[in-house]
Symmetry: C2
Subunit: 420 residues, 2 copies
């Protein structure tokens, strides 16, 4: 046991916070502009390009929704065909290109071809993300002009627009995160950006996200690290339980850090790479929950003491997606009965008499009945913008953590008044 | 095949609508009054007694929530101990007696004992339901006075108060249904009552419900019919996906109709009994969805064409519980993309290119892309108080039907402002 603990602490790596953006990572450029997909008068950016100065190792995770958008299918094909190499990622906001039939598939392919022709690479080295309304066709004339200009700007190294804003839909704030880790003594940069506010219950990825690094990494290792990290960060984030048709998250590595290449999972440098990626993805996942549609509270749900992690996650997700729990927290109400009732319907065997529930540091329930707590103090604690819910369901080794947000009038307004 | 069809049509029975209440069924009396659990100034009824003039056959289905209330545990014990016989059902609203530890268990037992002492029966012949806030202890002094008076009223055949109102919490309207069927030439009455508005996603039963009949039926047959019917009616109803800690539904039979006793499932009279019970439970389930907290639309979700019924039900439930689908319908918006996206994340294999979606009679999606539909006409159809969503996911034999309601500002107000 002690030997194992020592090994774990030896594997711990230092992650240095960094305020860089993805175009600050050696090997990457971005361009973002308004091409006419978003109709707001202030002409917000709605097309964003990430351009790689040289072929990058590329990894991707995508929605598990059976109804998946044309660009998702295309990305899967391209990663396979290119053997996990990429030169560019083009993202449009305002139209999801989902449920658009054969025309939608042709349009996604055409977007990749247009970028490839101008960036002088192969079409399969171009990835395509789309986000916005489902069921509408892309206005390809506007997209063509936009691609022409973004590729020109990126090649001329003119940083235009804000990449993180260019991919937003109902998001209120752009979401970025960055960190520096050392691999073989060389500093390696990791920076990411994502969007997502509603239809958020990612299954393998969030609505749209990209993380880049200058580390030298084998593509297979990049994919393994991404799948591992996405599972504990984005896949543990939920706004409304609605998994999108367009969830896509990619991780690109330029190799310009000149570190000894990371060539196998668990081999030299892997833990550092994983720690850097985790730090960035965890921050992005928190930002998504905090900016959930209509959110007034970021809620972190921890569940422990179950037989295994999967059981803990089932309970945590049921609590995090319970409309009654989410509205209680919107009302700053320590309604612990709703939290227990949600846990009890998660389909996991546990004994409520052995459970203990703590909300924002106050123990509310233990031994089958309410703990003696100060209602006014708990209600005051619930007014903070961040709330924690900690349920210990027994003495097993299982545990899980989920990010979510409350359910407010804002969510109903956004989604009842947002017309197709 | 033809033989089987004939057999089915021969088994069809006539169900005659009836406007009776449960105390109109021979053998049953009710009493309902305000004993002080609900604090509203108009002193609404909060204690209701169903009294059986003679021992009845009794069947019950209860919540599958791991966190289950003391009265639920007591009912399970009593049905077993009494060999499925009952003389009375006492129901209080305003306090769920859930998560109340050993004291809660003692209180539920005491309620049954008080009723038994006054109704001159065994404690195990008394069933107890509670509904209301979780985690509060019952004010037993008020309950004792209330039980004293309700039993007295019931024994004196003074119909006092309205049983259906006496069990309401956030319900806006009382919910009753009744029907008459013939068994062996004798008319048999079936009447039911239920409550439920939030924390509604019954799993084996609804929040609280009771159906009575004067049919002569063996207890085991009564239980089989109830479990079968509850599965297709109450268990196919959802307001917010939150299964309650107190869900309880019982079916009592006095035998006073003097029909040839129904002694086995599928035997003579069983189909008629089942049809009568189905008619009553189906009506009650619809009433629950229509009176869901904040509901402006009753939504019926039909899914067909899957490999089996379980797959169809998974898809139907995912659509019915999707916050994005529910808010779209609240906004009268034919946002079919959200319905398909919900279906796609249900964990069921189907091909969207083979699917067809029809909403309130208008086909919106077929062959992987939008059908040509008149948006204004569909939006107008969605203004009706009832909306249907029909998804054919393929050509398999599976099918399911779920009742639900939309997600409105009213739901958020009720649940963010309802304090514990």
């Amino acid at each position: 046991m002690q030997g194992k603990q020592k090994k774990q602490s030896a594997a711990r790596v230092e992650v240095t916070p960094w305020d860089g953006l993805i175009h600050d990572v050696p090997g990457f450029r971005t361009a973002s502009l308004h091409c006419g997909l978003k109709t707001a008068k202030e002409e917000p950016p709605d097309l964003a390009l990430l351009y790689c100065e040289q072929p990058c190792a590329a990894a991707g995770v995508f929605t598990q929704n059976r109804v998946c958008a044309a660009p998702v299918t295309l990305c899967r094909e391209h990663l396979k065909k290119s053997k996990h190499r990429a030169r560019a990622l083009i993202i449009n906001a305002g139209c999801a290109n989902a449920c658009t039939g054969e025309q939608g598939k042709r349009d996604a392919r055409t977007m990749a071809e247009w970028v490839a022709a101008r960036a002088l690479c192969k079409p399969e080295e171009v990835l395509v993300f789309s986000t916005g309304v489902i069921g509408h066709k892309l206005p390809m004339d506007k997209i063509e002009v936009g691609i022409e200009r973004t590729v020109m700007f990126a090649k001329e190294q003119k940083i235009t627009g804000d990449f993180a804003r260019g991919i937003m839909t109902t998001d209120l704030v752009p979401k970025t995160a960055a960190a520096i880790v050392k691999i073989g003594g060389k500093p390696v940069h990791v920076a990411g950006v994502c969007k997502g506010s509603g239809m958020i219950a990612p299954n393998m990825a969030t609505l749209l996200g990209v993380t880049v690094t200058d580390a030298a990494v084998a593509p297979a290792v990049l994919q393994a690290a991404l799948a591992d990290i996405a599972d504990g960060t984005f896949n543990c984030t939920t706004v409304d339980g609605d998994t999108s048709t367009n969830d896509s998250f990619v991780f690109l590595a330029s190799g310009l850090a000149r570190n000894p290449p990371v060539t196998r999972v668990g081999g030299p440098g892997y833990d550092a790479l994983r720690a850097g990626l985790y730090s960035v993805c965890d921050s992005l996942a928190r930002q998504i929950a905090a900016d959930g549609e209509g959110a007034k509270h970021l809620i972190t749900v921890y569940v422990g003491g179950t037989r295994n992690d999967a059981d803990a996650r089932r309970i945590a997700r049921t609590i995090a997606e319970s409309p009654l729990v989410k509205t209680a927290i919107a009302g700053n109400d320590p309604n612990w009965g709703r939290i227990l009732a949600a846990a009890g319907r998660a389909g996991v065997v546990f004994d409520p008499d052995e459970a203990a529930l703590t909300v924002s540091g106050h123990e509310l329930f233990r031994g089958g009945q309410p703990a003696g707590f100060d209602r006014a103090a708990v209600a005051a604690a619930l007014k903070a913008p961040e709330v924690s819910v900690v349920l210990l369901a027994g003495d097993g080794p299982g545990r899980a953590r989920l990010y979510t947000c409350d359910l407010t009038h804002g969510y109903v307004s956004i989604n009842a008044e947002y017309h197709t």
